[in-house]
């Protein structure tokens, strides 16, 4: 009884995760701009990977509950992979968006660049002063 309920929850999680990862691919293909593509390609994959890794963690807990110690190893290592994704994916997206803005890519249909007057970076300012 309990095993079947966990199986149904795992299938629902797998469906949600795969659906959102396919949505990420679709957004990458259809959006017009670097920033909107980042929005699709990073948030959707993070959300989908939460559910896909969560289903594996649930299966590991189920196997461990039935007396097999391999399940605990599976659950803990999947949780570590999920934590690695959750930390690194938004940080990488932030760095990419900043790099895209500083390398001169404008959003589609943008009229005013609000960040145009910002100083680029402390090391670059110091380098310009040295050149002067």
């Amino acid at each position: 009884m309990l095993s079947e309920i966990v199986d149904i929850i795992v299938y629902i999680f797998l469906a949600i995760g795969v659906f959102f990862i396919l949505l990420a691919g679709l957004g990458l293909l259809r959006f017009p701009d670097v920033y909107t593509r980042l929005h699709a390609g990073t948030k959707c994959t993070t959300f989908g990977s939460i559910f896909l890794c969560g289903s594996i963690i649930l299966l590991g807990v189920k196997i461990w509950f039935w007396g097999n110690t391999d399940g605990s190893t599976l659950a803990i290592h999947s949780a570590a992979a999920l934590i690695a994704i959750l930390i690194t994916n938004p940080t990488g997206a932030h760095a990419l968006a900043r790099a895209a803005h500083r390398s001169g890519v404008k959003p589609v249909g943008a009229v005013i660049d609000d960040l145009a007057g910002k100083p680029p970076r402390k090391s670059q300012i110091k380098k310009k002063e040295d050149e002067k």
């Binding site: 990862i21 396919l22 293909l29 990073t42 994959t45 196997i63 890519v105």
Partner: protein, 90 residues
């Protein structure tokens, strides 16, 4: 139980490969360099999730350890490419 042949998980892996192919179209087509890097970053995340699921299917947890190391290395490579696009110093 662990390492059992599950048809549903192979269907999930096939759909993940489909998503990777869609991202590859963006990597090939992308007009600017940041577009291609966004596609590569998305492919990295999908590959990590696929490794976790394949570790469950094949019954060997070593694939999940490989996925953890792959996640950290792909994060570092993304940061370096972002620094390169920015034109800054390291």
């Amino acid at each position: 139980m662990i390492g059992a042949f599950n048809t549903e998980f192979f269907i999930v892996l096939g759909l993940l490969v489909l998503a990777i192919i869609i991202c590859l179209i963006r990597v090939i087509k992308g007009p600017t360099a940041p577009d291609r890097i966004v596609g590569l970053d998305t492919i990295n995340t999908i590959v990590i999730v696929g490794m976790v699921i394949f570790g469950f299917i094949s019954g060997s947890v070593i694939y999940i350890d490989v996925a953890i190391v792959y996640a950290l290395l792909s994060f570092i490579s993304t940061l370096f490419i972002a620094k390169y696009l920015e034109g800054g110093e390291f």
